[in-house]
């Protein structure tokens, strides 16, 4: 648990290196231990086989050189130091009493009090461990005992076993070194990806080359590229919007400034009052623009309504029309609402109110004195959509201008009314959030602009 927690802090490379090396080390140790044990066992077997061979050779030797009266003769002195670790004795047992035929010089000093049993045995006598092999040939009457010092056997066996595993132990650091190199090489595509990601900045969001990425990384690069594309489009929009917004704020500020200065420079009271009046108009226009900008940035941030509620579209439209009543009356515009359906939508009443307010405000703004604004609400023939239509008898737009409606800060007919060019953008955004579609067209009967909002019914 703690290891895996700690591993998370390391780089992928360190992580892989540590995991691979510890696995190799663990299995290397196990393999070495097994190999060592096997080597010891094999050496033991070989020594035992030698002992048995030795005993049989003694029997053959004794048969061939049997001399009835000969007493056991003593052996010549050792030629090799390890000879002291071998001992043997041969008895002739077919006549009573048994007769000692042959024995090594050291056998009396190591022979245990009780004779070892027939076959292999390990016996401790006088502080030393010996391995004995006793062979009894009853037919020919021989009893042969051969023994070997265990300490020597073990030492030799250990040497053999160590020789067996040393190449592996020496190879471990080399293995570690090449493992690190291999992992570094294997992770190179990741490093390249990191480098190219590091070079990105909000100003420079070029897509990353996907051709040379291995197939595990290619989907990541593709996903990143698609994200980068979306981010750079968002940044571009933001940038354009900020530029447009600052541009749009400059003219009203300049107008305010110019009117106030004109009032200061004038020595005529009536003119001063007129200028200050216009300065107030300018301030109102700026307040409207800032309000619209804030609304737009608020609806821009959302991808769906914060709270979905059932909205009675008829009541909402009536409220909004009533709100605009004073506005319409002051221009002597007749505003009417004819609902033909009673749909209940799921949406945000606050946002839908902003949308209706903007549509009605636009219609009244661009309709001359004594004109008409008609609002209608009905279901489509297939009953799957509800359509809210707002038409006016205003100047309308040309076919070419229809395409530009809803673009930010796009003001058509600036000379007719002083809109700020954000209303339809706000309307479109709120429609998008409600999955509704907006269709601009020429109003067939009234002659002005017709705006149709199609809400899907669930």
């Amino acid at each position: 648990m703690t290891i895996s927690m700690n591993l998370k802090k390391f780089s992928l490379q360190t992580r892989l290196t540590l995991l691979v090396l510890s696995t190799v080390l663990l299995f290397g140790m196990l393999a070495s231990y097994e190999s060592y044990k096997n080597a010891l066992h094999e050496a033991d077997e070989i020594f035992d086989a030698q002992l048995a061979q030795f005993a049989q050779s003694m029997v053959i030797l004794a048969v061939n050189s049997l001399d009835d009266d000969e007493q056991a003769s003593s052996m010549p002195p050792y030629i090799h130091e390890h000879q002291a670790s071998l001992a043997f004795q041969v008895w002739l047992t077919n006549k009573q009493p048994a007769r000692l035929l042959l024995r090594s010089n050291n056998i009396s000093s190591i022979l245990p009090e009780q004779m070892p049993l027939v076959g292999f045995s390990r016996i401790e006598s006088r502080g030393e461990h010996w391995r004995f092999f006793r062979l009894r040939d009853k037919q020919r009457g021989f009893d042969v005992l051969v023994g070997q010092d265990s300490a020597i056997r073990d030492e030799l066996a250990q040497q053999v076993a160590w020789h067996n595993i040393t190449p592996f132990l020496f190879g471990l650091p080399l293995l570690a070194f090449f493992t690190v190199l291999a992992i570094r090489f294997g992770l190179q595509p990741l490093r390249k990806l990191t480098e190219s990601l590091g070079q990105l900045s909000p100003e420079q969001l070029s897509p990353i080359a996907v051709d040379d990425a291995p197939k595990e990384i290619a989907p990541v690069v593709a996903a990143l590229n698609s994200l980068l594309g979306r981010i750079s489009r968002t940044i571009e929009n933001e940038r354009r919007f900020t530029a447009d917004a600052s541009h749009e704020l400059r003219t009203p500020i300049a107008a305010l400034h110019a009117q106030v200065q004109a009032a200061q420079l004038s020595d005529n009271k009536a003119e001063r009052i007129e200028c200050l009046d216009k300065a107030l108009q300018g301030a109102n226009r700026m307040a409207h623009l800032v309000g619209q900008l804030l609304t737009l940035s608020r609806v821009d941030e959302l991808s769906h309504p914060i709270s979905l509620e059932p909205v009675n579209l008829i009541e909402l439209t009536q409220e909004c029309c009533a709100e605009q009543g004073e506005n319409a009356l002051s221009k002597n515009i007749e505003i009417s609402f004819s609902p033909e359906a009673h749909p209940v939508l799921s949406g945000s009443p606050d946002m839908l109110r902003i949308m209706l307010r903007n549509l009605l405000d636009n219609a009244i703004r661009y309709t001359p004195q004594g004109g008409q604004v008609e609002v209608a609400l009905h279901l489509t023939d297939d009953g799957r959509q509800v359509e809210l239509v707002i038409e006016d008898s205003g100047i309308g737009v040309t076919d070419a201008q229809l395409a530009f409606l809803g673009q930010r800060f796009n003001r058509i007919n600036q000379s007719v009314a002083d809109g700020v060019g954000l209303g339809l953008s706000i309307v479109q955004r709120i429609a998008e959030i409600h999955r509704a579609k907006i269709i601009f067209s020429h109003a067939a009967t009234l002659g002005g602009l017709s705006v149709k909002v199609c809400f899907p019914l669930h």
Binding site: H247, R250, T251, P252, A254, A258, V260, L265
Partner: protein, 220 residues
């Protein structure tokens, strides 16, 4: 001095027209690019204040078009577009100054006077002719080194006559320069102003060519 303002924003155009007229200019105000170009090719202006985002014809198109026709009038671009590229393009098409909104009206007036002065080939803001000296930027006049108190219209006429020393200006030319298209003047207003000027500067400074106009032509 009569200048042309081409600006589509009603409140801004109105404010500039009023402020500049208080600062000694006569301002004709056109609200779209086409009207602006027509006025510029048919009337004579001392300078032009030109907005860029205009209905019917963009300000830069207007600029290019009148410069191609050989118009030498100083043109000041007044716009909300503050990008370097926009500025370079404006100057490249023949603008004499480029000012970003919003700006101070007195600064705008000073810039216009400087442009007009340069286009008349003068470096010093002061204009001297005989015993009379005027400062068009400071709107002050001196006669024999002593300050003379003049009304705005009186100063405008004196300035125009001194800027055009040696030339005869008709009464219609003086009226046009003093009043924009909207204003109307009594037929003898110019004579009243000339009378006042003669009382303050001496009767021999401005000469009358009966039936033709006025000049400051022959100075002792």
């Amino acid at each position: 001095m009569r200048i042309l303002l081409v600006e589509d924003d009603f409140l801004l155009g109105d404010g500039i027209q009023k402020s500049l007229s208080h600062l000694g200019f006569t301002v004709d105000w056109m609200k779209d690019g086409e009207q602006g170009e027509n006025a510029l090719t048919s009337e004579e202006y001392a300078a032009v204040v030109l907005d860029l985002g205009l209905p019917k014809q963009d300000g830069l198109t207007l600029l290019q078009s009148v410069r191609n026709k050989g118009l030498r009038t100083p043109i000041l671009i007044l716009t909300a577009r503050d990008g370097k590229f926009d500025k370079l393009k404006g100057f490249g098409l023949g603008a004499d100054d480029y000012v970003v909104k919003p700006l101070d009206m007195e600064e705008l007036a000073a810039r216009l006077r400087a442009l007009i002065r340069r286009s008349a080939g003068r470096a010093s803001p002061l204009v001297r002719l005989g015993k009379v000296e005027i400062d068009p930027d400071g709107r002050q006049a001196w006669c024999d080194g002593k300050p003379v108190d003049l009304s705005a219209k009186e100063f405008a006429i004196l300035e125009l006559l001194m800027q055009n020393a040696g030339r005869v200006l008709t009464r219609a030319q003086l009226e046009q320069s003093l009043y924009g298209w909207g204003d109307s003047a009594d037929s003898n207003t110019i004579e009243v102003f000339i009378h006042h000027l003669r009382k303050k500067l001496g009767s021999d400074f401005i000469q009358t060519l009966r039936g033709i106009g006025y000049t400051t032509g022959r100075q002792p």
